[in-house]
Symmetry: C3
Subunit: 503 residues, 3 copies
């Protein structure tokens, strides 16, 4: 389209906006179809926990019925159901529509002022209107984050070394286990707790004595939460209650809740990338539009947020699809960069507790780096995923630019794996010479000083260097938490074994 | 209130807004009552230091007289005086109203173009209109931050080990004291300097030769600044001159000036919390209102900033008070989390230099953790404070949610204190065996390598883990600066004593 | 000007704004003069790489012709040419105007659908309209960042120790060189790569088979990039393509891309300064204006961003110039704070590879701190630069305030240099006693553990303390990455030499 025509259109848009504003202002005042049950909830909760109600009112669900949502052209649709119960069709999605949905399936349902309500809304509830998203999400490692941690003896040993108690006695340290509360606010805060009803408690309220369920592992909004109904996941991990604003999920702050530390520094890397700069400089006021579906490249935003590359349905201004929406984020992730000793092809199954390497450990590679290939996607699948991601890159960059970027990234995967191997060899040497106690002594591989140095080599430094490469945030990958430490740490490990040489 | 009625109201609000805008635009043009003295200041300072004038013009004080401010309904009032000098009542609060107020009480007052003005506006000046706020603030540790540091020998020893010089000679390090300039931009930058007039200096200006006071410890905006008039504190630490925008004080960036480092990581923890995410995602454009008094939960904001939980007057939409305004922030703080070896009940007196533990040290606990109970609030007061804080939580969360959160937090206080005790025992063992020189040798407990490792255990890691728990920013408390280091540091200290064993 | 008159003006401004909006809306619809060549580019690229086109459309260059830009009063002008080719005068600056400009000078020009275009737009291209900015920029260290690194053997040794491979064999580490891809995403990411055409590649496209140039070191947007036409620099390092929004360059996020790590922590220091707080609290919505030229202190912004102090043309509200625009940022920098062992007067020549100290090393000081004075600016020039910077400070602060600040800063330069000297003396002692291999053994001074501790003393801690002082972000300079580590590191180095004492 020529620039000329484009400008004429803009004039038309200005006028339309004025008209639209008038009608939307009018429409705003039009009575929404709130169910009687929800009106009942609102009655008290406008004063009890008032922010919940106000927050919900600001969201789209308080203004739209599922029937209206389905009428939209397919590209603009935010729901994916074929059919839902008629009782839900023509009322907005309010308190009762979620918290009193299918009560019989929720062990935490309880009688509350004449309603059967459950505290923990689960992906099964959301799936009534969003079945495709639930299905896709279930194939993510994140959906299995609880089991992937809890059912993996290697991870359990690491978790104990971090969260467990340590007491000092006669010149020695004795490790104890971590208690449940500690775990819930450490690893399981993001991975998800197991939420189960363990009884009821009576409490005096402004409305008289009332009973409420007592839940284990509560509160929690971890991505792989095990819910009372047995389902896995927590949609509000990213889609914060009760506004459920799509724009919030599209902004990088949401991802940063779990992806900021040195173990998975996606957010700090993003911040120092050109993309992050553009988001902060250009997109952080009111000039970008985070609410539209589909999301229009160039019009609604100028540089990617996390969601742009990993999740959202993108189109160019002429309506051509740039990327399909996916809640299975690994669709575009060909290599797993973090959380394990070596970067490796993405696991086939989102349930990684099934993985065993040749040494029998629950690790996707050997300690020396060879991948446990049976459990990992093959080269063909890696290429498919890489291509999918590159389709997003190509909305803003040339083929040569993109190729140059991915070449460097792959090189970085190799060099950082090599630097981890070097650290591993130093550790193996320390074990061999009896300076530290390792697998041969059936001791944890995470509890001694030299072992912790080794962990930092891959969990922090190799991994940060790879993120900085993948997301073009070089500053983080050099002196901030990357190559400087990757190389320095090796010298410090070397120092350590020299000082601990058996005499 | 029903949703239906609520929507009708919104239509009315839209119309009112239009009308309000028209009148506010008109009103904007109405002449403010600027005093003659202030007009005199503005004359020159519109060109000399012009930003000061422009900044002030943008603020509320340049547009409102104290008389008008007092006319507001009590919940909307931003001032707390009973009576003020009539000369101040009907003019806006301009340059002269603060900088020429009660000149005789200000040793730094000087003759300036026919006016007696003082450079350093102090809480005594602000208290003319805001006496309650000054009074409340004076009960904070922050108000006594200068003396609490300067009059505590333990802290002075720590400060010297950080800010002092170190020179190398014959294989040894000799510590020297820190000079005044270093202290002013290290600890005292936030704690406050002592500002005293030490003379006058003559300077050539565009308006001829003029004399200006020379001040010690200047500039400084620390929270516990000792002012020339003997008062303590600096309102502009949080209420930045000369706009004094309430919205600025309500945003977390203000608190982050002093609360960002590993010793008091409130801000980085907030950033990765759901609250921080909501502030950044939803509240950082123009959709939240940071200017209203009282501050309406749900309407003006959807998630808390620092001020919401610790300071501001909050109401729900129907006008019910959720929390009273307090400038005595410890009203809601039952435990002191940071800055000392062990977390402990909040001190009774804001002047902590009076505290002595059984060992005679200026510490609120023994080195082994037992609280110096006489100087600390008791369990009943702790509970009152906890309840006050929970009132804020309950505006958005259920009782069970809140209880679950606080149970975890208390568990974390215990486990982190235990991990500090372990580190302390290692240090005691190092002192006992003569590997390092401690209290027995009358040596600083902060100046050697193993002692500095011990300091990091509580000043950085235990403390960060507690903040992450208190403010639900788990990501910071696991690998970023929390449990990972809390547990690793113990292994490193153990390593250290093994390597330094006397032979 | 009196406040009264000022308010009346505001009423007028409100009316003007309404009228202005009407006409700008109209004007928006007016046809821009896009060249035929650019229309040709837009034809395909509206669908191929669509964001490039949309991004450009949002920028000023797509709406303004050079002729119009020159008509502005000189203070409002954003261009600095005397004369440009007539073919460019009356069309907006579109794709062809940059990518097909002076093709014969660009070795990476290639035939593309009937046009001769080059991929890499260079400062020579931008200089057609912005010759003064190009000239000024060329005197920055940043413009020479590639050569300053590549042609300095000391830096090359440091780079190898960071980016090179390390392998473990028989208890020893062997260092290997870094490969080109690693360098391109480590140091050279910000310093700039050398971009050269190394051939063409044929690729299947939606428009049939086409050929594209293959470039070395591509992509890259480093500040000292060596371009195919031999020029140095990359304007889009700060002025991001293709919107080239001046507001983006004026926001601190842009500088943070390269100035965030512990080696040059300008951005994290800014964040915790009062200035940074005001930017985030007051200036990060829509209330400040980042687009105007000249930039009006107090009206457009209330607190400085990086650009305010270092680059932008500033005036006060009455039109008086506060600071001239300069793209030679060292105009106002009297001391070099970072990147070298000791802070020292700024180098005379932006090409620092010419520097040799008495020991023959490419360093601006001796290892013991004495400056290599011949290569550095003298005291008189330092004072001129300091004065220039202070002119900016004085727009908001009094002379005494500014003097107090600079006195502290100079004190900090001295004390941090002294702390570095102490660390150097410990290192020299380690070399002397054969604990580590240094210059005497012709070994790298960066590759061993104790040497890396020494590097952190100046590259991270001394330097961070200085930045915190210079930019008044104390919190970063105490416990975050400053004096705490500066003093602790010395104790750790001391520990190291005690443990490694030859027996």
């Amino acid at each position: 389209m020529s620039v000329k025509g484009d400008r004429m259109k803009k004039a038309a848009v200005i006028m339309s906006l004025c008209i639209a504003f008038f009608f939307s202002a009018l429409g705003w005042a039009v009575e929404p179809r709130v169910s009687e049950d929800t009106e009942g909830c609102l009655e008290c909760h406008s004063t009890v926990c008032p922010n919940i109600v106000e927050d919900w009112k600001k969201g789209r669900m308080s203004r739209t019925t599922p029937a209206e949502a389905m009428k939209k052209p397919s590209m603009e649709r935010r729901v994916s159901f074929d059919k839902i119960p008629t009782s839900l069709t023509d009322v907005v999605v309010g308190c009762a529509e979620c918290h009193a949905l299918n009560s019989q399936k929720h062990p935490d349902s309880f009688e509350h002022n004449g309603y059967e309500v459950h505290v923990v809304v689960t992906p099964e509830d959301c799936a009534v209107c969003h079945p495709l998203e639930r299905e896709e999400y279930s194939h993510n490692l994140m959906a299995h984050a609880y089991g992937n941690l809890k059912n993996n003896p290697v991870y359990q040993s690491l978790a104990k070394s971090v969260n467990g108690s340590q007491s000092f006695s006669k010149g020695k340290i004795v490790y104890g286990p971590a208690n449940e509360e500690t775990e819930a606010e450490s690893c399981l805060f993001c991975h998800g707790t197991q939420v189960k009803q363990k009884g009821m408690v009576k409490r005096e309220t402004d409305f008289g004595d009332m009973s409420f369920p007592v839940l284990t592992g509560w509160p929690n909004q971890g991505s792989g939460r095990i819910n009372p109904d047995g389902s896995k996941g927590c949609c509000s991990a990213c889609h914060a209650r009760h506004q459920f604003d799509i724009g919030m999920a599209r902004k990088p702050y949401t991802c940063s809740e779990c992806h900021k530390g040195p173990d998975v520094p996606a957010y700090p890397v993003y911040q120092v990338s050109k993309h992050g700069n553009m988001f902060s400089s250009l997109g952080n006021g009111s000039s970008w539009n985070y609410e539209t579906v589909p999301w229009v490249v160039g019009k609604d935003f100028t540089a990617p947020t996390c969601a742009v590359c990993h999740v959202s349905l993108l189109v160019s201004k002429d309506g051509t699809q740039v990327a399909r929406r996916t809640h299975r984020m690994n669709d575009r992730i060909f290599e797993r960069l973090f959380g394990l000793v070596y970067a490796h092809p993405h696991p086939v199954s989102a349930d990684t507790s099934v993985i065993r390497n040749k040494a029998g450990l629950s690790l996707p590679t050997e300690l020396t780096g060879e991948p446990a290939a049976t459990y990992l996607i093959d080269r063909a699948e890696q290429e498919r995923r890489e291509k999918r991601m590159q389709q997003v890159c190509l909305a803003c960059h040339s083929n040569e630019w993109v190729k140059g970027h991915f070449d460097r990234f792959k090189n970085t995967i190799q060099t950082t794996n090599a630097m981890t191997l070097t650290a591993t060899q130093i550790l193996l040497s320390a074990w061999d010479q009896g300076m530290a106690r390792g697998p041969a002594e059936k001791d944890s591989i995470f509890n001694e000083s030299i072992e912790k140095m080794w962990v930092e080599q891959w969990l922090f430094y190799a991994n940060s260097t790879r993120f900085a490469s993948a997301m073009v945030g070089a500053d983080y990958g050099v002196f901030d938490n990357g190559r400087w430490y990757l190389s320095k740490n090796i010298q410090e490990m070397l120092d350590w074994i020299h000082l601990h040489k058996p005499e």
